[in-house]
Every structure is written in C-alpha cells, then in structure tokens.
Symmetry: C3
Subunit: 179 residues, 3 copies
C-alpha cells in the first residue's frame, strides 16, 4: 500500500489508498463479527433459545460434541437445548462460557480456536462440569458469518484435545486446515 | 456505499467513500471501547479501586445487583468495593470476571450481554461463589461510553436470568429494549 | 481531524482525512493483534506447543510467574510446558484461560491487564488451581506485537495482586508505567 506521507496525492493514489484501507476495515469487521457470533452461543443455550442457537450454524452445519455424538444440521443443533442433559443443567442453573478466541481468517473462511466451560450450580456454588478445547469452522454468507462445523474435545488429558489446539494455532489458511 | 472497484473515482465519490468508511471505523471503535469498559470492571473491583469503578457509570447510573438491592448513582456503586461482603472476598482473594460480551449498538446507545463470575479463594483452590447473567445498558458521552444501568441475575435456574439473556440477544435497538 | 461533512473536499483535505482514518484503523488493528496474541497463550501451553508459546515473547523477554520464579528468555519460557508441574496438569487435563484484557496503548508499547485461571481436572469436574492478576508488557516489532514481560500475582488476598491491577488501570503511557 502506498504511504500517505506525501502531501500531494494524485486521484489514483487516493483511490488506491481508500481501497487498501477498506480492506483493512473489512478484516477488522470480520474479526469482530466472529467474536459477536461466538458471544451469542452461551447466552443462547443458557436461555433455551433454540432458534437463536440454530441461526449461528449453516443449514447443513455440524456440531461434533465429542464422544459418539455428531449433531447434523442447524435445527438439530438448536434442538439440543430442549434435550437432556441440557434441560437438567438449565433447571439447576448453568452457564456456557467461551474464552477469547484465536482467529485465523482467509477470505470467506475462518477458524476460531478457544476453550469452553460448562458451569452447573451445585448448592451455594457452581462446579465446572465440562471444559473443552473448541474449534469453530466458519464461512461468510450473505447473512453474515455462520458456523459450518464446531468440534469439542474434553480437556481430560486426551491427545485429541491437544491436537485440536495445535491445529488451530497453525497460521495456514483455514481452507487447508479443514481440508 | 459506492464500490471502490472503479479505477477512476471523482472527487465526490471519494468524499462519499471516505464518509462511509469513517462510519464503519466509528462502529469498530465503539465496540472496542465497550470491550475496554467491561474489561475495566473486574480489575477495578478486585483492587478496591472505588474511583475507577465509579467512573464506569453515569453520575445517575444504576446497578441492579439482584435480590432486593438497587445501587443508585456512580459514587454509591464505587463504594460497593469498601463494603461487605466485598471486603471479605478481597481479603480471601477474589476475581470478578466477565465473558466476551454480545453487543447491540444503536447510535449513542448500546446493550452488552454477558456472563459474570465471582471466584473466591477457598484454601488451595478458588470456588465460584456467584455466576450471573448480565445486561449492561450504555450511552455515549463526551467522555466516552458510560453505563446507565447494569442488571445481574444469578444463574440459579430462575426464569429472570433466562429472560435477561433472551432480551439481550434481540437485534432490536437498545432504545426500545430499554424503554 | 477535518470533518467529512462538507460535500466539496479539496485534495489536501482528502489526504488529511485518509491519514487520520488510517491512524484510527492502525489503533484498532493493534488492539485486535494484542487480543489475538493473548488468545494464543492458553491453547499453546495446553497443547504443549513450546515453540508457539516461545514465539509470543521477545528473545530476551521475561515471565515473572510469582513466588521466587523468574523465567528469562523466550526459549526458557517455551520450555515451561515440558516441565513440572505443567506436565502433570496436562496429563490430568488442564486449561489456561485469560479474561478479556484491559489495554493501554502508547505508540509501539502497550500494557494488557487481565485475570488468568488454571483449571485442572479432578475426577468428574475441574477445579481452579491458580487464579492470578496479570500484567503483559508488549512492544511492536517487525514481526508484530511481542511480550517483553509478563507478571503474574496470585489473587490470594495479597497486596501485590491488587497493586498490579491498580497500576494497569492507570491511563498513563505504558512507557512510564513500566519505567
């Protein structure tokens, strides 16, 4: 990008500078849009808002919860909040909280890597019932960023959870990472 | 907004593009300013910095802690850190931590929705003594964003905590939400 | 900065506006780059990625863990993940999570202040084994932002942990704060 330090810029220079700046702003907007998407998940599931949760995923999106479970499609993922054990957690008092995510963006694809915790009330305090490594694969759509696949691996000493983190920290394009 | 893909832009186009870009940058700045405000609260109360905490609220701001308690005015809110049970928490070792917030901005108003946790030391570990759904209503002032009202609802299985989250996730303007 | 509200801007005005906007975008990029750096630490140590952890620090960077321990240099800090007690934590299942940081930027220097928690698996749940006040001193390099010094103080009721937070919330330039 051309530096803006010359006091006399031509019209062409100005157009170029504007384009370069616009791209940088777009990148920042993408990052904040993904933060916002991830910040919607916890309040969504904790308030049993199945529609708000479903809307985060692509219609054919996947949630690989770990264990044998693989949820297929946004509506099935949204319905998770009406099933056990989630209903029991909500009745007791629960919170799904993610950590500030590490992001790798590449055009219309992105990967977010973070921790997630499930807190469940237990008498006068809350215990941590689940603590997982998370990988969110995302795609830009005309309606904003959506999740194509979320993968959870319990941080229980398993190699799988460590591999998920290692993979997420690579700075290679998400397209390759996911491929 | 006019696309920047034409190589020959007129002066008018340039001015328009600059204006549109400036508005997008302002939106990003607003979001990061609100992140920063919320990230100030925890270190503020945990270090008994009553002035720093008070400065986050409008002079006539409110903190609806839940239960019967309603703190009125920035100074009363700041003084919270010098009262019980906060003093006991600080003496034991405590941390007030919020999650990455979901934001809805609308001009000079905003609503941030997130979780908050109060950790208190208990021998060789820390227990989670409070875990709440949070709604922060904010307004832009000449000194930056300030809190007009913070509402906390314990995530103890109550409908109130779920309603707070549901309300926060609506994409309607905060003005209406708060009205 | 000149307002963009006049419909006829001269070329000089345009150049000035572009420069001002570019600086604002740079500030936003700096903030998000520091968020990203801090979001790399947890997944890095939890996956025993000593190289990824070392790369966050300057070659001669310092990690003041608290207690008597002072780690000197990026490689020694990266090797932390291969030592005890970290290996035992990883084998059991652990998570290092930071909170949304409070940032003070001043040119090529920055200070980030936040909480950090170490969760370690304990049977069917996770306990909080460490909870600290954190100060990250950062510098901009040609390879992006790097940590010059991280200071941890356990939130165990000690004055040191409170002082760290109080210092971090000052809006004075990091250069002075660190000096």
């Amino acid at each position: 990008m051309r530096s803006l330090t010359d006091s006399n810029m031509s019209m062409t220079d100005t157009t170029e500078s504007l384009r370069a700046l616009e791209q940088r702003v777009q990148q920042l907007e993408d990052r904040l849009a993904i933060y916002q998407l991830l910040a919607t998940y916890g309040p969504g599931v904790d308030s049993v808002s199945s529609r708000a949760v479903a809307a985060l995923w692509m219609e054919d999106g996947v949630y690989d919860v770990g264990g044998q479970e693989l949820l297929m499609g946004a509506s099935e993922i949204g319905e998770l909040v009406d099933r056990e054990p989630h209903r029991t957690y909500v009745a007791a008092g629960c919170a799904h909280v993610i950590s500030l995510p590490h992001l790798v963006l590449h055009g219309d694809k992105a990967v977010a890597t973070c921790h997630s915790r499930l807190y469940v009330r237990d008498g006068p305090q809350w215990r941590i019932a689940r603590l997982s490594a998370n990988r969110w694969e995302l795609v830009r759509t005309t309606e904003g960023w959506k999740v194509t696949r979320r993968t959870n691996r319990l941080l229980d000493g398993s190699e799988k959870s460590r591999d998920l983190f290692t993979e997420g920290l690579r700075q290679t394009p998400p397209a390759e990472v996911a491929g």
